[in-house]
């Protein structure tokens, strides 16, 4: 596959690993947080963390929209899905996430809820057209990469008078989340950030500048392929060695300084900031999430549907919050791989294939 294979070349990867090993000073450690769950998944999939020098520590960040969705909102989504007049559309990622009382969308589906797994937001438009008799509810999750498609289909629904299409919107924003993470420095002590790849194709490089300045930490926007990740790490090691703190763009073949203005315009036309939003494991973060603007309230599930759930109950033993903030590693959670496994996930980090716990379990060697 062009533009993938070249960035997976094992011989170049080995050279990058050797260069990183040579340049990483053994007098210090390098604590690098990969914010984005996609990076977590890739690191484990290719086994990169095992071939880096021991003094480079990769800390898994909270950039996993599945993992950070508050349990209360998942409970509400499951409750909507169970309603007879609703045809519920979701990406596959959310199906197994456990809500309160071991509920999940998959369980609701097997108990008869009308749930469709979709591959694209545009599928909801087709489904809404085909089922005028039902309310078609799109469970919208994701960071800035996934938000413009949702904005687009909301506009399309408005234009086409598809009044039965509703969106339960849970889109969240990356820079405020990074700020919230770096603000808890005393516990994590992150030296530098591996910045998200595809989020940055939308928002560009500019939003990272203030973060870089405020926290004096280098940020390298990095692609997902092995060579991208290794080059990004090398660039961070060099910045730290030189005591620099700049924003650099490793993924320059797809990320432009100004981002994707057209996509951003769509987002601005359809969404506005929520005052605050609760992130699972991170608590309330101000101005970190989006809601649908009043002019599109016809398609806003939060305006058109009554809330139907009661108080959410997070499992007491679940330590996803600490894992998401990089305070503990997955295998330091008391229930990791014992009670909480991919077969029986108690928290979101074990469900999403880019959740730190699932990635660890999936790809790392269990203890004998």
């Amino acid at each position: 596959m062009k533009y993938l294979d070249e960035f997976r070349d094992p011989s170049l990867a080995k050279k990058l690993i050797a260069t990183i090993t040579a340049e990483a000073s053994d007098k210090r450690s390098y604590r690098l947080m990969e914010f984005c769950g996609g990076h977590t998944h890739a690191i484990f999939r290719y086994g990169l963390h095992q071939v880096l020098p021991k003094n480079i520590e990769l800390i898994h960040g909270p950039g996993c929209p599945v993992c950070v969705l508050p349990i209360a909102r998942l409970d509400q989504a499951i409750s909507y899905a169970r309603q007879d007049d609703i045809l519920f559309c979701s990406f596959g990622d959310m199906l197994r996430v456990p809500g309160s009382q071991q509920q999940s969308l998959l369980r609701a589906k097997s108990e008869g809820a009308n749930i469709h797994i979709i591959a694209s937001a545009t599928d909801t438009l087709t489904i809404a057209e085909q089922h005028p008799e039902k309310k078609v509810l799109f469970f919208a999750i994701g960071f800035e990469t996934t938000t413009p498609p949702t904005a687009h289909i909301i506009q399309q629904a408005a234009e086409r008078n598809l009044n039965n299409l509703l969106v339960y919107n849970n889109h969240v924003l990356t820079p405020p989340a990074i700020r919230a993470i770096l603000d808890t420095q005393e516990t994590i002590n992150v030296d530098a950030l591996i910045g998200p790849a595809h989020v940055s194709t939308i928002i560009g490089t500019e939003p990272y500048n203030q973060l870089c300045k405020d926290f004096n930490r280098p940020i390298v926007i990095t692609g997902f392929e092995p060579l991208d990740i290794l080059q990004g790490i090398l660039m961070l090691v060099r910045q730290l060695n030189d005591q620099r703190a700049n924003v650099e763009n490793q993924y320059s073949r797809a990320v432009y300084t100004e981002g994707n203005k057209k996509a951003l315009t769509f987002m601005e036309e359809v969404f506005e900031l929520r005052e605050t939003f609760e992130w699972r494991g991170l608590g309330q973060i101000p101005h970190s999430a989006l809601k649908i603007k009043p002019r599109y309230k016809k398609h806003d599930a939060e305006k058109q549907l009554k809330p139907t759930t009661t108080r959410a109950k997070e499992n007491k033993a679940c330590a996803c919050g600490d894992v998401l903030r990089g305070i503990i590693k997955p295998n330091e959670c008391k229930i990791y791989a014992t009670v909480c496994t991919p077969d029986n996930p108690l928290g979101a980090c074990m469900v999403s294939s880019e959740g730190a716990c699932a990635a660890h379990y999936q790809y790392d060697q269990p203890n004998v």
């Binding site: 596959m1 599928d123 991919p342």
Partner: protein
């Protein structure tokens, strides 16, 4: 159109399966005559007895049974009919046995098109004939519309196991090499492409095929060096290897670069966020053999039409955890876990 298909359509009152076709009366007798007996056509079946009689050589027999409920019923590279025969033959072949006879039970949905049913049955006849297997007995039931997904088929197969052949997980040894006869994931991805909800198209075909001839070819020269065979169907290579690791109480170490996967399977998996090691195959086996004979066995497999892309993908180790471990092209390792449930397409 084949004569059999034409006869079936002409002699029926309508173009579709009717309740009467399963009623035990004259409608059913004529239906069976014009379709199943005409297509499968062999001495035993033609006698139309409730059960069929056959001779065996003295020694061990092998028997297997399988239910087929695949959807869609037709896909590039085959249909539920050819799949059912290949699958049953392969289950027998994986024991090192020679498949001989198959029985077929059909559960048909009222109003299923006879034209499509004829195509399914003719495909079964072709698959059986190519493998020198006879379909010697069967059963037909019809259920009301909505109570079946068009056609369900249950097959039972019988084969003969020559003396001296011992193919089983218990015969796998540490140090054995692991060979697959070709690219993985073709069948599962070609089926996924048929489900329009995932929105992609491919020219990939199912790899559904009978492996019996290839297995017999290997056994003819390497009967003691071949230790175990299994076909990685649902759940893919990952599920099969994990089962075998548990059953043999050994570990398997794979080389990711060596595993043959077609570009299109790779691309579809990247697109949907799936791992090709968990995707179904229908014309592939994984073989465990003595290390000293592995290269020769590989050469032999590669000469066969169903083995052109064969490769040695790993070896067997002493691992008290009974795990399947994979080394990536970058020198890292990961565990290929035994999934509890199916992969779901993802966007994150």
């Amino acid at each position: 159109m084949s004569n059999i298909k034409r006869n079936v359509i002409n002699s029926a009152k309508s173009n579709v399966v009717e309740m009467a076709h399963g009623n035990g009366g004259r409608a059913m007798a004529e239906f069976i005559d014009t379709l199943f007996i005409a297509a499968f056509n062999n001495g035993q079946l033609n006698q139309k007895t409730d059960a069929s009689c056959f001779h065996t050589q003295q020694g061990r027999m092998v028997m297997t049974t399988d239910g087929h409920v695949i959807s869609p019923l037709f896909f590039p590279g085959g249909n539920i009919g050819s799949l059912s025969i290949h699958g049953t033959i392969n289950d027998i072949a994986m024991m090192g046995a020679l498949p001989r006879y198959i029985s077929c039970g059909f559960i048909l949905e009222e109003s299923y098109p006879l034209s499509d049913l004829s195509d399914i049955v003719l495909a079964m006849a072709k698959a059986a004939k190519e493998a020198n297997v006879e379909i010697i007995t069967g059963d037909t039931k019809v259920v009301e519309k909505g109570k079946a997904d068009g056609v369900f088929i249950t097959t039972t197969g019988i084969g003969e196991l020559a003396s001296g052949i011992n193919i089983s997980p218990q015969h796998i040894h540490a140090g054995d090499k692991i060979i697959v006869n070709g690219s993985l994931g073709d069948h599962g991805i070609s089926i996924l492409a048929q489900r329009n909800t995932l929105g992609f198209e491919t020219s990939l075909q199912s790899d559904s095929a009978s492996l019996s001839d290839l297995v017999q070819t290997i056994l003819a020269s390497f009967s003691t060096e071949l230790h175990c065979l299994r076909d990685p169907t649902r759940g893919g290579l990952a599920a099969t290897l994990n089962e075998l690791a548990q059953q043999s109480k050994l570990g398997f170490s794979l080389d990711e670069d060596a595993i043959p996967i077609k570009d299109e399977v790779d691309a579809a998996c990247e697109l949907l966020g799936l791992d090709p090691l968990y995707i179904a195959n229908e014309g592939k086996f994984v073989a465990f053999c003595s290390a000293y004979a592995a290269n020769d066995i590989l050469s032999l497999i590669k000469q066969h039409p169903l083995g052109k892309e064969a490769a040695i993908i790993g070896e067997v180790t002493h691992d008290p955890r009974y795990l399947v471990e994979l080394t990536t092209p970058y020198g890292g390792k990961r565990i290929v876990h035994w999934r509890y449930d199916d992969q779901l397409p993802r966007i994150c």
